[in-house]
């Protein structure tokens, strides 16, 4: 399973053309991840469980093919599983309700009949499938706590008034949340992602931090280079462009 998808991409690249899949897949993933995040907000999910759900989804489709598995079903199961993993248990009834309404806006609430229970069964089945696909490794390290600690450290460097008028924390967290639309969240270390979001936020507002022997980001992440930061940053920013294309 895991080699199938990647070999097809490699083969296509070798042939020098991009199949529609390669072009379409990121868009599909973007849309599904948007669906996950929206559902998460409507269910009152906290940041970390929502991040887990997105990571589960991305990791699943790193090795599985979109042809075989319905991405929205995988997404719903990912939400359900993430709730369990991160101790914010969600009920399948709520997930099904919200998702149904996502696809059929302004519709009536579903009847709790046979069809409903079938949907529920399929979510539970898919959950098991995800677990197996990921070898039951469903516990991930997320950038959130690193980002928050870095924010506190940077805050101490700044004048308190400058901090209170500059929405650095909000922007950094927003950038981090939006990063889950793409697979950048699974291709980089959480510390690097956190650092990049913070870097981006500081750059946005033109905030000047004191300079020492080392830059603050060198201190925070010893091995990271500016180039790496730039790479990640460009990936993050690409996602914003994608929004225009996909939605």
């Amino acid at each position: 399973m895991s080699t199938q998808a990647s070999t097809s991409v490699a083969v296509n690249e070798a042939r020098g053309r991009r199949s529609t899949e390669d072009v379409e897949n990121p868009k599909i993933h973007f849309r599904v991840c948007r669906f996950i995040i929206e559902t998460g907000v409507k269910l009152g999910m906290r940041s970390v469980p929502m991040a887990t759900a997105c990571v589960l989804y991305h990791r699943f489709f790193q090795s599985a093919s979109l042809q075989v598995y319905e991405p929205y079903l995988v997404a719903m199961s990912a939400i359900y599983l993430a709730g369990k993993v991160e101790e914010q248990h969600l009920r399948t009834r709520d997930i099904i309700n919200v998702c149904h309404r996502y696809f059929h806006p302004d519709s009536e609430a579903l009847e709790l009949d046979g069809k409903f229970w079938e949907l529920r069964d399929s979510i539970v089945q898919c959950e098991l499938l995800i677990l197996r696909q990921l070898n039951f490794q469903v516990s991930f390290e997320h950038p959130h706590r690193y980002l928050l600690h870095y924010l506190l450290s940077v805050r101490s460097l700044l004048n308190r008034h400058a901090w209170s008028r500059t929405p650095i924390a909000e922007t950094a967290l927003a950038v981090l949340k939006d990063s889950y639309h793409g697979s950048v969240c699974v291709r980089h270390k959480p510390q690097h992602l956190a650092l990049t979001s913070l870097y981006l936020a500081l750059q946005t507002y033109g905030v000047q931090l004191p300079r020492g022997e080392r830059e603050w980001w060198q201190v925070v992440c010893a091995e990271i280079t500016k180039a790496q930061i730039e790479t990640i940053m460009s990936e993050l920013l690409q996602l914003y462009d994608m929004e225009a294309k996909c939605t």
């Binding site: 919200v98 609430a109 925070v220």
Partner: protein, 684 residues
């Protein structure tokens, strides 16, 4: 749009940004206000960049168009005033490093230069901040402190800056006694002080040890001498890092306990003032205003529960109509479990309760339903009916006022419900009637009051007579027989005393157990004596007076043949002279009569014992007050007079209670006369 922020950003990025901004945001009305400002700023910046400046502008090589593009596109979000969430100013607490990882100041890791750190410190320290330092000299005008570290929110590496601050004596609180307050402090002490004043130009700091000098969110922290344990965590960890060059920021963070705390994200989000479930986003589609309330999980669930519950209610109603009440109740309860306070379910259940007869529960359900939906037609209708029915029940139970309340409520609820109004009217008439009746009764009762009292008094007298009879009997028999008497008469007591009030009987009984012993004692001791004497040698602690009295009383009794005596009760005031006359003789009379009472088998031991009790009481009173006449004595005398009379009457026929009552007034007079004779005899 936040003007200052934009300016800052534009001056950092340069013209590119400005042009992009203009391009992307030209429809944004807020931007237009700021655009002119930005142009000015840029010109300034360009002017400055030619000269040497301290500000670090972005180098041209670093220009990232993507970034600028993004800023330009999202400027309406990034620079919106609402973007920044307001941080709540909580009371500051010393972090234990458990909730999250407390790190040493970044300055230290970054190895920021001496001057820069010093500059930054003086730029950022403010009045009300907290600092920790070591005392390096104590003068008579104050303390000199070398600063060690910052505390209370500000986190800087200042130890090697060797900043000296002064804490003048006026800012040192006195320790209470009249010693010099500075004597409390030694060189080398660690103290925690608040910043009272700053002279940034001269780089002078004035400290204070008064809590009032601290900012409000810090003012719970104690100032003064502290120990090493009180040093803030960021400082102690910084020291550790300084000594160990292998300790990097990363390593320190990864090793700290606070990082592993699963709740640290939520905690820190709270500390920064950002909501955990509503984190901001820069995606257009995820802006919070795009989310509709009814799309949220909880709202949909509620609606679904309601419809599911309604289904259950429908099946329940079907059951109800077919007569399957149990099934119907089950369905209703199921519906209420799915959706608590579901209006339809409550109304249906209430109707079921009402049909089954549990009216109070039905009313409860209807009330609850009307609380959530005050215009529910069925609920009102059923509630009215149930109230009227309940009112009817209460009427039968004579709880008229409550019933009235219910009818009134029914009328208020549904004024078209004629039954309620009719019932209310009927009830009101009835209430009025009953009120009138009560008034009449009350009036009658007042009239009867005296008669009632008198009948009670008569009763008492009868009882006293009975007692006297019993006592007489006891005196005449032997000790053993008296003891058997006491036991037997206790048994006989019940029918004879049936007339008496139960309280009095119990009262006597309680005393009987106590008194009978004494009585037996007395009885045994006088077994030698003749029946005629039939007097017990008094116990040592009794006053002698009544011993004589007893003797005289027996004589009197033999003359007058009084039989039993009723109980002694406190009576209303009598003329003092009569009492005095009776006084010394009274007790004797009592005892004398009891001797004869023994003849009558049906006298109660309790009465006897009450006599003994009463005599004890009497004796106590006498002993306490000496031989003076006391009120109780008087009253008892009065009773005895009456009892005397009663006993005389009782000779004829005990059953004639009525006759006794009639004869009482005459008896009184007789007794008085007899007692007067008695006294004369005694004196003789």
């Amino acid at each position: 749009m936040e003007r200052d922020l934009l300016r800052q950003s534009v001056s950092y990025h340069g013209e590119n940004l400005l042009s992009l901004l203009k391009c992307e945001q030209n429809e944004n009305p807020d931007f237009k206000h700021v655009a002119a400002d930005l142009v000015k700023t840029l010109n300034q910046r360009n002017g400055l960049s030619n000269t040497s400046e301290d500000m670090h502008f972005k180098d041209k090589e670093d220009a990232s168009p993507v970034l600028e593009q993004y800023i330009a596109r999202k400027a309406d979000l990034l620079f919106a005033p609402s973007w920044k969430s307001s941080t709540p100013a909580d009371e500051w607490q010393e972090e234990s490093g458990e909730a999250y990882a407390v790190m040493p100041p970044l300055e230290q890791f970054m190895e920021v230069s001496f001057e820069e750190r010093r500059e930054l410190f003086y730029r950022d320290v403010e009045r009300g901040d907290m600092l920790i330092g070591r005392i390096n000299s104590v003068r008579d005008f104050g303390l000199f402190v070398t600063l060690l570290c910052t505390a209370g929110g500000l986190e800087r590496d200042i130890e090697d800056l060797e900043i000296k601050a002064l804490c003048p004596i006026r800012n040192v609180p006195s320790t209470g006694n009249h010693d010099d307050p500075l004597s409390y402090y030694q060189i080398g002490d660690l103290i925690r002080a608040g910043v009272k004043d700053i002279d940034r130009y001269h780089e002078k700091l004035t400290l204070s040890l008064y809590s009032s000098s601290l900012a409000t969110h810090l003012n719970k922290i104690k100032l003064g001498v502290i120990s090493k344990e009180d040093l803030p965590l960021h400082y102690t960890r910084g020291e550790m890092v300084a000594t160990d060059c292998n300790e990097t920021y990363e390593k320190l963070l990864d090793d700290s306990l606070g990082l592993s705390n699963p709740l640290n994200v939520d905690y820190l989000l709270g500390k920064l003032g950002i909501s955990g479930t509503q984190t901001p986003s820069l995606m257009r589609g995820l802006q919070s205003k795009r989310f509709k309330e009814e799309d949220f999980g909880t709202a949909i669930r509620k609606k679904q529960s309601v419809s599911w519950a309604l289904k259950c209610v429908k099946t329940g109603v079907d059951h109800f109509k077919s007569g399957r009440h149990v099934d119907a109740m089950n369905e209703y309860n199921k519906a209420l479990e799915i959706d608590t306070n579901n209006v339809e379910a409550l109304v249906a259940r209430g109707a079921l309760y009402a049909t089954k007869g549990s009216l109070m529960k039905a009313i409860g359900d209807f009330e609850l339903a009307l609380e959530s939906c005050p215009t529910h037609r069925n609920a009102k209708k059923y509630l009215c009916q149930t109230l009227v029915e309940r009112g009817g029940q209460l009427e039968e139970e004579e709880k008229l006022v409550t019933a009235e309340g219910l009818y009134k409520r029914a009328v208020v609820l549904d004024d078209t419900f004629r039954e309620a109004a009719e019932a209310l009217e009927k009830l009101q008439i009835r209430i009025q009637k009953s009120l009138k009746l009560k008034e009449l009764e009350a009036a009658k009762e007042q009239e009867k009051a005296k008669t009632v009292e008198t009948s009670a008094e008569k009763l008492r007298k009868i009882l006293k007579e009975e007692k006297r009879f019993k006592k007489k009997k006891r005196k005449r028999s032997t000790s053993s027989s008296t003891s058997s008497d006491t036991s037997s008469t206790t048994g006989d007591d019940s029918p004879s005393t049936s007339r008496k009030k139960s309280k009095k009987r119990k009262h006597k009984r309680r005393r009987s157990s106590h008194g009978s012993k004494k009585h037996k004692r007395r009885v045994s001791s006088c077994s030698d004596k003749t029946l005629e004497d039939d007097w017990f040698p008094a116990p040592a602690n009794t006053s002698a007076s009544y011993i004589d009295q007893k003797q005289s009383m027996t004589k009197l009794l033999s003359e007058g043949e009084p039989d039993g005596r009723g109980r002694f009760e406190d009576v209303p005031d009598r003329s003092p002279e009569n009492c005095r006359l009776v006084g010394p003789d009274a007790n004797g009379e009592v005892y004398g009569t009891t001797g004869r009472a023994r003849d009558r088998r049906d006298s109660s031991s309790s009465t006897q014992s009450e006599y003994s009790h009463q005599s004890d009481r009497y004796s106590k009173e006498c002993s306490s007050q000496g031989r003076n006449r006391c009120v109780s004595e008087r009253s008892r005398d009065e009773k005895m007079e009456r009892a005397e009379r009663k006993s005389r009457d009782q000779q004829d026929g005990r059953s004639s209670v009525g006759s006794l009552k009639k004869d009482l007034p005459s008896n009184l007079v007789d007794i008085f006369s007899q007692i007067a004779e008695f006294k004369k005899d005694k004196k003789q």
